[in-house]
Symmetry: C2
Subunit: 354 residues, 2 copies
Amino acid sequence: MNKEANEDNPKNFNPAVLKKIQQARKMRLSTEEYISGIISADITILSKAITLIESNNPNDFADANTIINACLPKANKSIRIGITGVPGAGKSSFIEVYGKHLTSQGKKVAVLTIDPSSSISHGSILGDKTRMEDLVKDSNAFIRPSASGETLGGVARKTRETITLCEAAGFDTIIIETVGVGQSETAVHSMTDFFLLVQIAGAGDELQAIKRGIMEMADAIVINKADGDNIEKAKLVKTEMNRALHYFPQKKSGWSPKAITCSTKTNEGILEVSQIISEYIESTKNNGFFDRKRAEQNEYWLLETINENLKQDFFNHPQIQEALEKTKKAVQNDETSPFAAAQLLLETYFKNKS
Amino acid sequence: MNKEANEDNPKNFNPAVLKKIQQARKMRLSTEEYISGIISADITILSKAITLIESNNPNDFADANTIINACLPKANKSIRIGITGVPGAGKSSFIEVYGKHLTSQGKKVAVLTIDPSSSISHGSILGDKTRMEDLVKDSNAFIRPSASGETLGGVARKTRETITLCEAAGFDTIIIETVGVGQSETAVHSMTDFFLLVQIAGAGDELQAIKRGIMEMADAIVINKADGDNIEKAKLVKTEMNRALHYFPQKKSGWSPKAITCSTKTNEGILEVSQIISEYIESTKNNGFFDRKRAEQNEYWLLETINENLKQDFFNHPQIQEALEKTKKAVQNDETSPFAAAQLLLETYFKNKS
């Protein structure tokens, strides 16, 4: 455990040494070796392949794409579960208990995180693994934190591709945890089959999810820490959540989300969550929504990646960068119409592209 | 009234004759004449200038931008109110009664619509004016329907610019009605100061607004047709709406939206709506939100226009059009990763641009 934590926690290393190790790792294998290693469920090679697809070195992109595309036919047989909740809701302990429940039933579980902030709070990597102490020792579980030093877009792409590698390596349940702040929920929601919100009873906290629009995405809500003195309060929140759920649109999946209470101390509710997810998967596989959603998600990431890149190319263009702040000010102060100003910038951009 | 309806309703004209009239109209005035005409509140010139900015002829774009930019310093002194609601909620009769209330207090009211469907249901143009029979005769009111034959983006841009011209012509209250379907609400919300939702009591209808995410945008909700046998039902819906409003986020404006009942037959509630809007404007002008929101809206339209144009240029590129459907299919069927596929398309595009 200590060894692993250190490998993933570059601050304990001399940067020059780290770089050499990373280069050695990369040079060691051909794409064929990566691919056959992943498919034969070699966890060490899987880890290295993930490091390769996380690389920002353009020389690695072609190899990364080759590996991912080779893994695709072997992937796609798992269930992908997104888990969100505010910090302190007990997501990690929930994932640990739920993950152990799954491995005890012979499942292979991969836990990934989307945490664009992890580059700042380096500690969270070690923290997650410490919190999931039992799961990390489980040979049927694989825990991999977010790539660090990245924008949300970068983290999302890398996590999405890591899913493919994990699936090709035989993991049948992929859990993706998000930190519960900002836009990371939308990213996780766009790459998972089932979206679970972990809540706790507490003054006003139960409304935060509604207010941030998260509740609308949830397929189930777990009111966590329903133990000891907290049981009654948790039940009240459950009732409140179930009522609030009625205000939201009928889901395209045909599924009616529900709230349940849960405790990672007493294990109450864990089996129920597991059953709810199984029911959801069965029902959406039967009505065709499951496959349709995955196809839509793939198309979403195709178009989203294109749009992001088009914007990046435009807004990073030297002449646009030079003009943009002045244009924004002029538009904000009603000195020019937003449409006329946009036309001017677009003309500048296209003239200098072609 | 008949004459106006005909001018705006091209289907009664021989297209060749119409074109000649339109050309004659356009050639008659210089941009200086347009500008001074608008600023001196000449309604005929205002109408012609709107027709010019609605033109899709690229030769008109420069003149249109000159006129709009010249009007900007004279504009920006009005209040912009967005009104939405499902068809049948009585938006037009509400606008008529509310508009008359405003003109009776010495206000000058312009009523614009965003209706991307009006090119299909030509009748709606005539329909709106017929429904607002009293207001259309009022010399302090100006009613102008959506440009027809347009996408939502096109309609939105033209309406946004029409606001500027109307404001420069001295209209101090701009009402923008949306048809209450699709994305047009978001467009209206992004160009108005106050957003009003018109509802009626009816089986389940009161939940539609919540379900479509409209309620979250509303600054006030009018339960319309609260007269006769309907009064009790309308009051119940009002209570329900006020309760539901609590589930939504605290607004950045600091304003707490409220639901009230209203009748265009008895005029009950009209004064109250007027007072609510005045309170809102006063409160948001005091806390700085009013100006901040307008500046943000301008920036939003700048960036939105840029993004839309970048996407259009990409997706209309012949080689992208050729490759896109095949790529989408490959991505949907997991034959290639969305990110690898996006990279390939982007390379094709940029190689053929530069």
